[in-house]
Amino acid sequence: MTLAQKKTIISILAVLFLASLVFVQATEVLRRRREAGLSAPRVAVPASSTACVECHAQETPGIIDHWKGSTHAEKGVGCVECHQADPGDADAFDHYGARIATVITPLDCSHCHPTEFQEFEASHHAAAGNILASLDNRLAEVVEGSRVPFDPHTPTPGRSSAGPVNGMASVAVGCQQCHGSQVALLATEGKSITFEDLVPDGNGRPTNAAALARVRKNADGKPLFDPDTWPNTGIGRINLDGTRGSCSACHSRHDFSPRRARQPENCGKCHLGPDHPQKEVYEESKHGVAYRDLREHMNLDADSWVLGQDYSQAPTCATCHMSGNVRNGGKITHDPGERISWTNRPPVSLVMDTDAAHKVLTESDPELRRTLVKDTWQEKRQRMKGVCSACHTPDYVNSFYEQYDDFVVLYNEKFAKPGQQIMDELWKQGLLTRAQFDEEIEWTWYYLWHHEGRRARHGASMMTPDYAHWHGMYEVAERFYVELVPQARELAARAAEAGKEVEAQAALAVIDEILARPEHDWYEQ
């Protein structure tokens, strides 16, 4: 081999070497891009919170670990930024040199998240705590429990000095853990102090000094919460500063993870069960099946989570009801009601025409309705259709809504309104006692609209046939024909025997009129 040949070979090899280095450079660039996206940033504790973190890392390491995984920690929002309290706050206390409050309300979050706060306060979620006056609460407070503590009539081994039975336990642990309690501080004279006593101003600070003075504190000066009302992260919690809600209901503390809030399991803490099985319905639907299969590819960790842009494999609860999509410019709303066109909560479903106060209009006069309505149900439906259209064509979406509307109307007209009519007539005629839930038919009616009727409607709204039909309309029909109608007739018959013949006749006439309608006439044949 001549020298020249050798040199030529070396030149070629040198070029090949250079080529392999290009390969190396490409790998380096890829690595840097990946590193920019993936590296979990190390958290530096903000100076104001170093003392908190040092102690609590020993005392309650879970809190610190959670917080370190949060975006708050990345951005230098520590303990003090959220927990600091004004001296005038009802629940403020001194804690190792810092003045803090335990409970963080939406007002506290609103200092940095004002938009979300406004949307949320306007939403039905924030109103969830206001069920205190509704039927449900009597169920838990009176039927399941007792509004007044009562004596245990036999001792429990090992707890002989336990004291009277707290009849509000079912409410505190059941209803209010989802709907939200009315946060109360213990008072020195034994009662409780809520925001109604404190009368907070626009900044959440109490204006009633007398109420403040009655707050019972422990030896360290820490105000004591009524254990029936705290701990509680119900989404409609009524806080001491007058605001409603708890952001940590969905953005659980202390990592306040949007990732978790995007997942159906998060909503499923409350939106499940025999009376509103949204979670079960979703899981059975095609959407839920796709989600379960593809969740790892859905960029749940991403900052921007816009349907049609950052992911499109499947919608979750958040996708349809709150998150941004390509049709609405990626805008998130913290008011799920903005996209709901039917409210299936009441016995008879209503369309979601809302007024300026975000309340559903029940006014039947069309002219009056037109003047009151601020946001129509059609506009809400359009927003929801925007979500659907990221994956579905207009014909598909519109026909689905026809199916859905038809179903709700069928339920309304065949079972809900007639059922309501029958019950109203029985009450009107005095054939039922004043008390709720003391007669079988009241439970029957409750099951029909509150449990089975809701299930049916939810199944229809989220395309889950089994819940729409077998767990839904089938059971509604059974409840109506096999229980409600015979029970109503029996009530009337017994009332007639007891002397209330006129009233009984009136009630029976209503029932007969309903059953004579073409959709019911199969029943009596």
Binding site: T2, A4, K7, L13, A14, L21, A44, P46, E81, H111
Partner: protein, 173 residues
């Protein structure tokens, strides 16, 4: 060296045809390029170009500071930074973040609203509201207070500070 025993072909070192010269040049060029690139990569490894270790950290809600207000922000690395509001247009340009450490000998400076200046108590160095020295030893040395970048997002003020110093690196890694 016995010339006779050398390889016959290699006994003609003076036949420098054009092709042989070209081979020589391409060889040298190729080697320099290839190994040179390796060297550049090694140099990049030794001198990382991006400065890591600073991050945008939350300071305060902008609405909580009025015109003329100052607060002392302590960074996670322990540095004291004076954050002052000097304007009311409503964005990050209203604010200025200056290190409180005097560049002369390291004492902590104080903002004096009455005089509109920063004063260093050690040797009476003064700085104007932009951190430029106006009197005393720092002025003589033409120094100014170090500035930190600020930005505003949704009405919240953020500062870009180093997260760690040797003092805070007490854990492994």
């Amino acid at each position: 060296m016995d010339e006779a025993k050398l390889d016959a072909q290699d006994r003609e070192p003076d036949r420098r045809g054009f092709l042989e010269k070209l081979a020589g040049w391409t060889m040298t060029g190729g080697l320099v390029l290839a190994y040179g690139t390796c060297g550049v990569m090694a140099a990049r490894y030794l001198y990382p170009s991006r400065s890591r270790g600073t991050r945008w950290q939350f300071v305060v809600q902008a609405s909580r500071m009025g015109l003329g207000d100052t607060l002392i922000y302590r960074s996670p690395a322990g540095e004291r930074v004076t954050v002052a509001r000097q304007g009311t247009t409503g964005d990050a340009l209203d604010f200025i973040a200056l290190s409180s450490t005097c560049p002369h000998l390291g004492c902590q400076v104080r903002w004096e609203p009455s005089h509109g200046r920063f004063l260093c108590p050690c040797h009476n160095g003064t700085f104007d509201s932009r951190g430029v020295a106006t009197a005393g030893p720092p002025f003589q040395a033409g120094q100014s207070l170090a500035r930190y970048p600020l930005r505003s997002e949704n009405g919240l003020l953020f500062i870009d500070v180093p997260l760690e110093s040797i003092a805070t690196l007490d854990e492994a890694g």
